[in-house]
Structures are given as C-alpha cells and as structure tokens.
Amino acid sequence: MTPLLSVQGITKRYGAHIGCADVSFDLYPGEVMGIVGESGSGKSTLLNCMAGHLEPDAGKVVFDTRANGPKDTVTMSEPERRMLSRTDWAFVHQHARDGLRMGVSAGGNVGERLMAVGERHYGNIRDKATDWLERVEIDAARVDDRPVTFSGGMQQRLQIARNLVTGPRLVFMDEPTGGLDVSVQARLLDLLRGLVRDMGLSAIIVTHDLAVVRLLADRLMVMKSGHVVEAGLTDQVLDDPQHAYSQLLVSSVLQV
C-alpha cells in the first residue's frame, strides 16, 4: 500500500537554532498520528513544514495525489500546493479566528472552499453549507450569522466544517482542543473521531494534551528539541514509554 504522506528527513533551522531535525515517517490512509512534546519542541514547526506553510531547509513531504500519485509537495509549484491545501488537505488552527473569516457568515465560511474549486450555484453551496453545519452540530438556522456571535467551541466546529466540506483526505490539526472548556473538548473529540472514521480521513494532530492523543491518535511521535525521540503505537508510547523524555512527559500528567 502507498503511504498517503511520506515525510523524509524534514529539517528546519531558524538561524543557528533547530526548529526540527531529520524527521521521517509514513502516514497511511485512515491513520491518525499525534505529535506531542513541550512548547518549543518543534512540533508546530514540523506541522507547518508538512502543510506547506513553512519551507523546510531539507527533506521531502511526499503526498499521494489523486491525479498523479506520489509527489513531493516541497518542490511542487506553488499553485499546485495551494490547490492541494484547499482540496485534499485541511488545516485546523488552534485559534478558530485564524482559520475563519470573522466578517463572513457561517455559510460563507463553509462555502468558500466550494467556490474556490469552482462551485457557482448559490443554492447548492448553501445546501452543502447547511448540511455541514448540522454535521458539526451547529443549528442550521445560524447559517447566516457571523462567527463572532458563536461560542469558542462552535467557532472551532465551524472551522472544522469549513475545512472538511471539500472532502479532504489529510487534515492537519494544531492544538484543535486548546483553549476550550473540558466539556466542549469532549464534544469536539467525539465529533472528530466520528468524522475521521466516517470519511476515512488521515490526520496529523499536534497537541500537548496526552488525553487528546490517546483518544484520537493511532500512532504517536514524541518530540524534544526538534528531534523525534520516540514513535510508536499511541497506547504503547503512553503506557510503556522507552525514552527518558517520554517517561518524564507521561509521568508529569496530573491524574484526575
């Protein structure tokens, strides 16, 4: 089976400082991978390199495109990469306002990706937007309201709807539950799990919340100072961590 995403030796430096160094892994269709590590461990740098927001200094990010099979997204042309990022890829930001247009209605936010790929029938766009609002448990009657009138959890769900409406195959998530109330987090996690299963999505989730990765991720990578110190099955890494840093990370979590 061809990996959906094959990351090979990704390195990013900020001057003398290492963002992430020599990171490699394969992600297969339907797999969810978590990346954990403390602030500054390089997990967000890595995510941004993979999603095309940052240009790595070395390495490849090979994505199995629908049309032409595996292609290195680092060296592909910018139009091609931007096309990927609004069709087959999705990016869920930690802060919903970074991923939403706050001055545009919920329907317009969800519809934008459809219009970006050429949908020109208002009725169809609106129907799809409404359908997606319901799928992320937002009342369809709010389709014309702006996200500024939404709660934090609703904004995050709207961001997810906006990202998933074009049926992407790979979702990048940067701390998707960060900054949300615990009860809202749970609802979002449940929603994400259902969507991942029903749509056969692959996802890469950056977080520092070990409980989130345990529930969402099949596999886990632990990063420290830009390096991957341990990788494996999520429950294996969390229950039987091998590296000193992973052990520290797991043992540092407060028990409820």
Partner: protein, 297 residues
C-alpha cells in the same frame, strides 16, 4: 501658465505613467503599480484619473469631464478647468465630440467609438481588498487565479438580502483571467465595459495603481448560475427627456416628498431634449427654474 509643463506633469513622469498604461493595456485587468505624484488637489478628488489624463492628452485633444454623469458638478468643473489652464486643450461637454473623457462613477450613455479614451477615477482598485486585507496575499491570489473569495462576497449579498445587492463597483472578469474592480460605476454600466470600441484606462492615485482595458475586450460580470447578473436601474422613464434606457438619478424636489428621476448623463439628456423628447415632469421645469418661469408667465 507658462511655468507649468504641458498638462501639469513633467515629461519624465508622463513617460513613467504611459509605460504603466501600456503595460496595463498589454495585460487587461492587471493592476500595474506606478509612482503616483502629489497633485494640486486632495486624494479622492480624482488624482489618479488626472494623472492618467495628463499622460495621454495631446494639444489636439478635446477633453470632457463627468462626475456621476454630470458635466456641471464641482469635481467635473474643477478638473476641466485644471486642464484648460495647464494644457490649454479644448474642452467640451458633448460625449461624441470628446477625444478624452475623464469620468467619476459613470460610463456615458452614448456608445463610445474607436479613437476615444475613457479615463476612470478609481478609489480602491483591489476588488479583493475588503475580504483579504493583506496586499501580499491578494497579489498571490491574482497571480494564481484564486478568485473563490470574490464569490464569497456575492454569496454574502444573497444570504443577507436575497439577491446580489452589490449595485456599484461590481466585480468583473477580464478575458477569462483577471478579476477587476471597474471603479464605483453602477452595475447598470457593467455591460458597456465589454467589447467597447474606446480605450478604457483606470487610475488610482492614492493606491498607486493603473489598470486598463484595450478596445473590444471581453468583460464578464461575476455571478451565480441561479442568481445571474442583472444590470439594474430605477424603473422609471427620465422625467426630463423620457428616456427609458438610461441610468437615472433620483432627485428630491421639495420638502413634501416630491421627487423625480432624471438621466445621470447630462449630455445625453440635453441631447434628447434638444431633439424634442420631453419627459413627464419637464413642463414644470423642475428646481429653482420653476418660479422664474411663473413670473415670466
């Protein structure tokens, strides 16, 4: 005014502006940056249009200026006078007689012909600006033809008003490539943009951009399949000349709710009246003229 160069601007500046104009004509709809000069009038008063006019005027030209269709408003009069004094060119109010027409917010009703140049005053040339504030990003969007956002604006219109409520500065796609803001002309004028025989030049002074449409360019107004573009106007005949096909201004005539609709293109309206067309309210000779007539009677 011998202390000024012909048409106010020095020759090097005009050369620079002409280059921008030529580039704009070569890439229809593309916004060409240019080094806009300080002009002896405030931004918002047509400094972009004035610089473009100055760059294309020759001593043989006949110059016309309209503001919202009218030759007799402050803005039109002052710009016309400006070029009378700095270029000494002949001026006219007749659309058919003019070789260069500078306009704010209208396209003349009379079809323009080959050899004529229409210069638009443009406040904000970037159609994506209100949705995407980053210039770096809008440039990239133009470069990569990522115009989905433009439809988001129209989508918002329909979701809020039930129809596309954008009635001026209605975005268009030029030759199937660049999305362009046609300046704040009413969307009634949009169909005239395409396949026009005259050259159309757009100057934005404050924003330092020039874009252009060469003659006979394809210009399509953006829309949705189920909400097609419509060139709308007030559903009335002109009160003065009875025209049914021209864009109308609504004029309040008294304090008691009295109003009338008249052609916004004054030259067109006067031409029709001279040819004997009379609108329903013309017998009153509206405005302050009316009491005078009564005294005479």
């Amino acid at each position: 005014m011998s202390e000024y160069n012909f048409a106010y601007l020095d020759e090097q500046t005009k050369r620079m502006i002409r280059r921008a104009i030529l580039k704009g004509l070569a890439i229809p709809g593309y916004q060409v940056p240019f080094a806009s000069r300080e002009m002896p009038m405030p931004y918002g008063w047509g400094t972009g249009g004035v610089q473009v006019s100055a760059a294309v005027l020759t001593p043989e030209d006949r110059f016309k200026v309209i503001d919202q269709g009218a030759d007799d408003t402050t803005n039109a009069v002052s710009i016309r006078t400006f070029f009378e004094r700095t270029a000494g060119v002949e001026t006219t109010t007749k659309t058919t007689d003019a070789t260069v027409i500078q306009t704010r917010h209208r396209i003349p009703e009379e079809a323009l012909t080959e050899g004529q140049v229409l210069v638009y005053q443009v406040p904000i040339p970037e159609p994506l600006r209100f949705l995407e504030p980053r210039e770096s990003e809008t440039r990239k969007m133009h470069a990569l033809e990522e115009y989905g956002l433009m439809h988001v604006k129209l989508y918002e219109d329909i979701s809020r008003h039930g129809h596309i409520a954008t009635s001026y500065a209605y975005p268009v796609k030029v030759e199937g490539r660049y999305v362009m803001d046609p300046s704040p002309i009413p969307k009634f004028d949009n169909p005239k943009l395409g396949e026009m025989a005259a050259i159309q030049l757009f100057g934005a002074g404050r924003e330092q951009r020039i874009h252009a449409l060469p003659p006979y360019t394809q210009v399509v107004s953006l829309d949705f399949e189920d909400h097609p573009f419509e060139a709308t106007k007030a559903d009335h005949p002109c009160g003065m000349c009875g025209a049914l096909d021209s864009y109308l201004d609504e004029v309040i005539t008294d304090d008691a709710g009295g109003r009338m609709f008249v052609c916004s293109d004054t030259d067109y309206c006067e031409g029709r009246q001279a040819a004997g067309f009379v609108g329903e309210m013309n017998h009153q000779r509206a405005f302050s003229v009316q009491p005078l007539l009564e005294t005479e009677a």
